[in-house]
């Protein structure tokens, strides 16, 4: 059954396609959902159901995109199922991983995560391990200009700034973007080419 109706449906489209009543379509979706073949996607006014015969194993903890989606109003499309076994991605880890990707959409979506940070020291330690302290610091200051964030501890701020003194060249927040048009003050302070504009960050306010 899941193979025959594979795809994205509403109750109405499924009933129409299969020539069945709405009630029967709801029953089919309910049965398939209990077996794990159906995933509900939040649509606008109507509920969307994604039916797939592939019963992927979901044991483990969610990956980067799903962790960001849990805390950010701007949702990322998850390219495929990613599961972490043996570790859980915290908000602090997710910020560091997002910065490491250098991907435009992931970084913008990860900005609101600074409002969910509980352990600033963990954030600074992870940033130091991955050598992205200055980028994380720059991203925090960017976040402060646009969205509500928790205040970073001053000691943690000083710790993140240590990397600025060690580096010789400017780091890049967004891969492939080598020039700063706005936020140059933040860029100079942290030794990072921000590569984003206010208009890019305004997207966060739209959601």
């Amino acid at each position: 059954m899941a193979k025959e109706i594979e795809g994205i449906h509403t109750v109405g489209t499924l009933a129409q396609e299969r020539g069945i009543s709405r009630r029967t379509a709801i029953n089919y979706l309910s049965l398939l959902r209990k077996k794990g073949y159906v995933q509900q996607i939040k649509g606008g006014k109507k509920r969307l159901y994604k039916v797939s015969p592939l019963l992927l194993r979901t044991e483990g903890n969610p990956g980067l995109e799903e962790t960001i989606n849990a805390h950010s109003p701007m949702k990322l499309a998850v390219p495929r199922l990613i599961r972490l076994k043996g570790r859980k991605l915290s908000v602090e880890d997710a910020i560091v991983e997002a910065v490491k990707t250098g991907d435009y959409r992931i970084i913008i979506a990860a900005i609101p995560l600074f409002n969910a940070v509980k352990d600033w020291l963990r954030l600074s330690r992870r940033s130091e391990e991955e050598q992205v302290s200055n980028r994380v610091g720059a991203m925090y200051e960017l976040a402060r200009t646009m969205v509500r964030t928790r205040r970073m501890d001053k000691r943690v701020m000083r710790r993140l700034q240590k990397q600025r003194k060690k580096q010789k060249r400017m780091a890049h927040l967004i891969k492939g973007v080598y020039k700063d048009r706005e936020f140059q003050g933040i860029g100079k302070k942290w030794g990072v080419v921000i590569g984003l504009r206010k208009a890019d960050l305004m997207r966060l306010k739209e959601w």
Partner: protein, 241 residues
């Protein structure tokens, strides 16, 4: 024979044992375990993307108690230049490790982009290839079990045949000329012997592609042979003079 739980536990142990993060691609039965298309598999087939990763994985497995066994390669591949896997055994568990190539098929970038899931076990990241690529890779073996697996994939999932044909063409462009011929044989066997539901158009297109590739290949061989004989004739005539 390995089930999902045993495979999962093994990967966790490998992930903890590895000194660096590596990415591997699971193909065959071990990939099918991840989307419940199979309950058990005879062996775990893993493809690494570099020699360095292969060595790291081999080292981790040897530390876990696995031992290396001489690879068995089917007679049809013994005179052909194919990449032989490294076989590692521990009790009933067998792991076959390939590096970039699986016999006469390359793990292409298009295959890597089609992966359906990724599982991270500490330092080991295992990517699961799509059902279409599993069928493609099963076409290069001569095992009856692989035919049954391919048939069950075709029966239970909506196989995107256009992707299959596209990848077959892509493999030919990558220089794997025999791949399309083996795939054509494989799909015809599935259709005729196991009554798999494969559209006729797909079989026609793949047969045409295979014929086209073979004709071009033999034409090139003929040209090359002519050139070589012309050269040897010239040399002989010069030496007589």
């Amino acid at each position: 024979m390995v089930n999902f739980t045993e495979q999962d536990e093994l990967f966790k142990r490998i992930g903890k044992m590895l000194s660096q993060k590596i990415e591997v691609y699971l193909i065959g039965g071990s990939a099918m375990l991840h989307f419940r298309a199979k309950a058990i598999t005879k062996d775990i087939d893993v493809v690494t993307t570099s020699e360095k990763d292969l060595e790291l994985l081999k080292k981790a497995l040897l530390l876990l108690g696995f031992s290396i066994k001489d690879p068995f390669v089917h007679i049809k591949y013994q005179k052909i230049d194919v990449t032989k896997p490294i076989f590692l055994i521990f009790g009933e568990m067998r792991i076959d490790i390939f590096c970039k190539r699986i016999l006469d098929t390359t793990l292409s970038e298009t295959m890597k982009n089609r992966i359906i899931a990724s599982y991270e076990y500490h330092n080991l990241v295992a990517h699961i290839v799509s059902p279409e690529d599993i069928i493609l890779l099963k076409s290069v073996t001569e095992r009856e079990g692989d035919r049954v697996d391919a048939k069950s994939l075709i029966q239970n999932y909506n196989i995107k045949w256009d992707i299959l044909i596209e990848e077959a063409t892509h493999q030919t462009e990558l220089g794997e000329l025999l791949f399309i011929v083996f795939l054509d044989d494989f799909l015809h066997e599935l259709k005729e012997d196991l009554h798999a539901d494969i559209p006729r158009e797909v079989l026609k297109n793949i047969r045409k592609l295979a014929e086209h590739v073979l004709i071009e290949h033999f034409a090139r061989e003929k040209k090359h042979a002519k050139k070589m004989s012309a050269k040897t004739d010239k040399r002989k005539s010069r030496s007589r003079q």
